[in-house]
Subunit: 215 residues, 4 copies
Amino acid sequence: MTTILLTGIDPFNGETINPSWEAVRALDGETLGSARLVARQLPCVIGEVGGALVAAIEEIRPDVVLCLGQAGGRADVTIERVAINIVDARIPDNAGLQPVDEPVVAGGPAAYFSTLPIKALVAALHAAGIPASVSESAGTYNCNAIFYALSHHIATRRPGLRGGFIHVPFLPEQAVRHRNAPSMARETLIEAVRVMIATTLITTQDVKLGFGSEH
Amino acid sequence: MTTILLTGIDPFNGETINPSWEAVRALDGETLGSARLVARQLPCVIGEVGGALVAAIEEIRPDVVLCLGQAGGRADVTIERVAINIVDARIPDNAGLQPVDEPVVAGGPAAYFSTLPIKALVAALHAAGIPASVSESAGTYNCNAIFYALSHHIATRRPGLRGGFIHVPFLPEQAVRHRNAPSMARETLIEAVRVMIATTLITTQDVKLGFGSEH
Amino acid sequence: MTTILLTGIDPFNGETINPSWEAVRALDGETLGSARLVARQLPCVIGEVGGALVAAIEEIRPDVVLCLGQAGGRADVTIERVAINIVDARIPDNAGLQPVDEPVVAGGPAAYFSTLPIKALVAALHAAGIPASVSESAGTYNCNAIFYALSHHIATRRPGLRGGFIHVPFLPEQAVRHRNAPSMARETLIEAVRVMIATTLITTQDVKLGFGSEH
Amino acid sequence: MTTILLTGIDPFNGETINPSWEAVRALDGETLGSARLVARQLPCVIGEVGGALVAAIEEIRPDVVLCLGQAGGRADVTIERVAINIVDARIPDNAGLQPVDEPVVAGGPAAYFSTLPIKALVAALHAAGIPASVSESAGTYNCNAIFYALSHHIATRRPGLRGGFIHVPFLPEQAVRHRNAPSMARETLIEAVRVMIATTLITTQDVKLGFGSEH
């Protein structure tokens, strides 16, 4: 049986919920086609989150890992293209730490590209009526650290595993507290996760669609 | 019995749906508490839309009128404060006309303030977890023309009637075609309309909350 | 001789400079063609600023009044179309007061339109290579109070006087402290004021250009 | 003598000027302290631009290379942190080609970090009153291709050379044609280049300042 590991993150930066966890916890234990879905919540603690993710992978032995995170201020579901080997925290994490210009993995390469079919995911979300785009940066905080740790684990230990990172907007109830912030409904986010799982499972080779940016 | 007239608008500017109509047509014929809801679709034809609205008011004899319109690019439900006596179209309307710097009502005053409890509406939407704010401009196009025509009709013919204008974001399926555009789910929009109706019915005097802007 | 009164405003909301005053004080005492330029700084005190402006008009007896104000977050020079009879302060003014939903002038009409040739100003700024647009809202704070007080004075006491309000972006040194805020150089702002003065003086009838907005 | 190579890019995407070239050509032939400045214009032709840059480096033998590019829509000077080994063109380049998901350098590593003191540059620009920030993505078009080609050349052929990429906003005269686009004056851009050169020359070790982003 195919197993999909879905991860969300704890609330941080004064929020009481995190849309990434709301989106995936609703699917924990479901089956989608022949795939079994398992959801796990990761901490917003930069020094621990990579280890927590690897431990979950070792326990669950998934075939695909979709890691989600909150991108407050973004308007659509953004499929991250690249994880970079840097931590540069503008605000403290949930352990109160704020590392600046440290590597995620000492000695690791500068970056890894997603092993998800990122263009096919955007196209499938669009076809489902869900705003989505490719993002060229997952930031330099906890989300990028998860993405890099996942990619490094795949590259060095689990070459058959496919995985990547997806940022999602605030939920409407969060956006209430942020002047002019875009949001996306829980139902839309959950549907987006279903679409991304199904698309990943049927896509062995990504499509070539010009979804990049000039800068 | 209390009657609420809800209006949405035809699609325009290349869209095939208009979120304002999607939000209100779902409620047509419903009762909410003791209120009967009637939804009507108005044209995006600047020279006709005021007359169409007044005809609907004359026919339905509502106690409250909530007119909705699409504000592509805005992220939240925006309660309009003021209608101005100007039409200045940047793009043609659905009749192919583009009036510039003409009055909505020749000889009418420069502006009317909404007779809805705009601050109470924002507060109630926030309490319901729906992003909302006061807007200081309904534009200079079809939406403002509706709002001005409504306000002028209230001021000159139906002083007991209360009414105003609310702009709503794109639906997600529209935002797919607009790079980085925020959106709001149909269900959230419909819930927002319910909240606004209930709040208007129980609010006889608006609350004083500083929801303005420096510019 | 033609006299032009230019006004800027004191710094507010934690700023130490105000770009509106920087733009006009550089021109104080100059002549532009046959026009004498006089610059005055108005307070960011909502309850006093209208009186201060009227006193300056009574003293200087200008033919044209250009009032400028800071619009932090806007990217271009925005020519305000309409002043509304409301004060709704989201933050305290420099006297520590924060009036909410009070009129600028008790008993005054809901709004006044600018008596400047707003479309000609935008077109002339564009021709000079300076980003500019028509704005449909001057806010509900000190700037709008100035604009409304000016317009009310013109309408009720000085029908021959022409005047209006222009918002300008942050200066670059201000934008340093505001993440992602656009800015405009002092030299560009000063040139913009010169262009607006010259254009106002030669324009007796505004041009019809579709510079409005859908919302 | 120290030599600084400054590069800008040809106009593209319908523009008739490119602010990156306007900013550096004004400095061509100048000396700044003991440094000689040489400016070169690179094509917006993705398949040729890397070779053109390397040829300029081979000819001029600089100690530092500052490559600039246009980022229409950004409000400040953005110091790029990382170049990625991907081309994903959303629009054709000046040769009419639009490569999608091709490497900049076949077989090259996924990414390189800038060898400029990016944090010190931001801090120095702020001290000079010029809006600036670190950017986590140089896009996937011609600018990123320049940055990657430069970084690959440094890593594989010229380990003592320092260089990186900086994006600059539209000039005001460009922003006139782009609704709501931020801009920066030529004089501000030229001053920014001077500040960045001087800062690079005196900074041997970058400072640790939390200028990253959560996403």
